[in-house]
Subunit: 407 residues, 2 copies
């Protein structure tokens, strides 16, 4: 079995986490911000040092290629280097750096490969500045270059303006459209507590759940908290509390890994002595079955419509995001499992509750995902943490799986 | 019966509402802001034009006195000219202007009075910049001058600093401590829908409800909305939804005019894909019985403590405000009712769900409150509105009641 260079991987993780470091101990690198561009330049240099042929495609996906002369199907792996605001040091970065380290180890060990290999840092995986997964969607043809350019970020700048400002040297063709990967592997931290709780070293992802976000506006009446009798109220927050409990109960009833969350809720005017006139909230439903997501949405719609009239509030509902679930490729999962066993590591099959570029790449390639444990399940937070040994185990599973596929 | 000068009253209401006017059609005059000081200067000039002897006491209560030579007990009336942010044009201002108009009418009609009379604009009735009812609390000895001076406003300045900046010429003695009122009357808009809904012209207040505000902090865990199973969550907003429903149910069960509101609720981090880690909310209980407020508070405490452990969240509770209820004086209410009948106006006895300086003045004086209808019950809002006829009716009830008491 191949072993990657442990200290080199951990060093590059340390170096990359200093770019965009926050006072909380986290990292902020929004897509095409100065810090994220600096992180991309760091990745480009690292790919060059690893002896890879570097391509930066028209949307700033960064691709480092090994064995490019081979005329067989491209074997790709990677993740992203953009982060959420005050996010962790491992989410995305770990998968990119381990991919580069794997290819660098192949080159140093002079391993004979039958396929070309690519390590990829996809553009804008996190949906913070621009809608999520822009880079992989462009690479797989789900969105045109024109549409990517026109996306407007939360700061008001378009994607095209942000690209121009970055001064990155972009190629005019899509490398991944010309060299369509036959396989895509992504190594990532779990971002949940399952592996840690069960004491497993490796997670083999069978599917990535779909996510549907629904925004509900509740319009009541902002009246005086002292002078308006209970039976004359149109309390938007009271109605919101019914939605919160309904979403919780529904998710528990649906079971099968269903989760439902109201993470965002805003009250207007939000004064202690005024009955809430308006509430805006966002519901996030996730499941590995598109049917169950549809069922949850329709039950929510039904509940809201049935109850709003009785509670004398007006309701507006709109779908905010919809990413369908994606099954990973069975044969890839079996291969990852075999390699994990060969390395003497413990594993479990699991689903991914978070979205990843792998769910987009699955549309064009055989795809697999490898998870390593997240301490206390923390992610999208400065408290994100994975033990060094676990990081090395995951990178070795990735490298050996890539090697087997590329033989 | 005496009739005040209708158009003069309505004109002064128009003029005063231009000071601090907002683009929404409302008024913003926080205590001792430039606009509120300008409003006080307007009131001082108006009192002088009305032939009143003007006193501005050490906390900037503005007092206009008629018939000051009489050695009998002072008969006082008034309200306030400070407002909430983007509040209405009538809340407070109406009571002050009608009081000045009543005294001006007595003087013009050369009515012989046995008592001295005072029209008062109390300082900082609204609890926006500084804690509520500073002016009446100082006038009644509930708070010392030293403690008023030390109060720190939401902008960071102390009350003393704000007074100095105002350049108002303040007297060094408390006029109302030297001339303790035997009676206090306050005319105010209802700020609720009861009079309009029942088609009554005048509300005779029997009691002012007490208000207790309780702040609850809920501390859960901000985890990933996709990767954290339902049974591993510590969702602060889910727990908040139980408090919201409990407060509603409890207020309905307690009956007897009980109201309970959660008007303020803040979620952290408030991101659609993160389980709420922290929620801070403020509960506002009101009732005319202190016992019922105590009962509501203790039932809330019990519920929160019993349930928090089961829901795996931590709770912090603190009392934010506590104004005990105040019964108005029976003989004054009977007199107001008699005068209202004599004027041929319709009336109902009622409680005030909002706090007023009258609940503080009740500690030292026989006290009564007169309400006029608020259209759609709106207040603390640019939509606050009362018909001109209703404003005039209320002012005539006030003037004739004052005249009867002061004979």
């Amino acid at each position: 079995m191949l072993h990657i260079n442990d200290s080199r991987l951990l060093n590059t993780l340390d170096e990359l986490s200093e770019i965009g470091a926050t006072s909380q101990g986290g990292v902020t690198r929004l897509c095409l911000s100065d810090d994220e561009v600096e992180a991309k330049r760091y990745i480009i240099e690292l790919m060059k040092r690893a002896g890879l042929e570097v391509h930066v495609d028209p949307v700033a996906n960064v691709i480092g290629v090994l064995n490019s002369a081979a005329e067989t199907k491209l074997v790709a792996c990677g993740s992203h280097v953009d982060t959420v605001i005050d996010g962790g040091r491992y989410d995305g970065s770990y998968g990119v750096l381990a991919a580069i380290e794997a290819l660098r180890s192949f080159k140093e060990s002079e391993i004979k490969l039958g396929h070309p290999l690519a390590a990829i840092a996809f553009a804008n995986e996190e949906g913070v500045r621009f809608p999520a997964m822009v880079g992989s969607k462009y690479a797989t043809g789900l969105i045109t270059l024109k549409d990517v350019f026109a996306l407007r970020g939360t700061d008001g700048a378009t994607f095209e303006e942000a690209l121009t400002k970055s001064k990155l040297e972009l190629e005019s063709d899509s490398f991944l459209a010309k060299h369509i990967p036959g396989t895509y592997l992504e190594l990532h931290i779990e971002q949940g507590p399952v592996l840690e709780n069960e004491g497993k070293q490796i997670g083999i992802v069978e599917n990535i759940v779909g996510t549907r976000q629904i925004e509900v506006g509740i319009h009541g009446s902002a009246d005086h908290a002292g002078t308006t009798p209970m039976d004359a109220r149109k309390d938007a927050l009271l109605f919101a509390s019914k939605i919160i409990q309904f979403v919780n109960k529904l998710s528990l009833e649906l079971g099968k890994g269903s989760v439902g969350t109201i993470g965002f809720l805003e009250v207007t005017p939000n004064a202690p002595n005024v009955i809430p006139g308006e509430v805006r909230l966002i519901i996030d439903f996730r499941n590995s079955s598109a049917n169950i997501i549809d069922l949850a949405s329709s039950k929510l719609n039904e509940m809201v419509k049935d109850t709003a009239n009785k509670d004398r509030v007006q309701i507006s509902i709109r779908q905010r995001a919809d990413l369908p679930p994606a099954d990973m490729t069975d044969s890839i999962a079996s291969l990852i499992q075999e390699i994990t066993d060969d390395l003497g590591l413990t594993w479990r099959r699991m689903q991914s509750g978070a979205g990843h570029d792998a769910m987009i790449m699955r549309r064009i390639a055989d795809t697999g995902m490898i998870f390593v444990p997240s301490k206390r399940g923390k992610s999208h937070s400065p408290m994100e943490e994975t033990a060094g040994d676990d990081l090395i185990h995951g990178a070795n599973v990735l490298a050996n799986t890539l090697m087997k596929i590329s033989k």
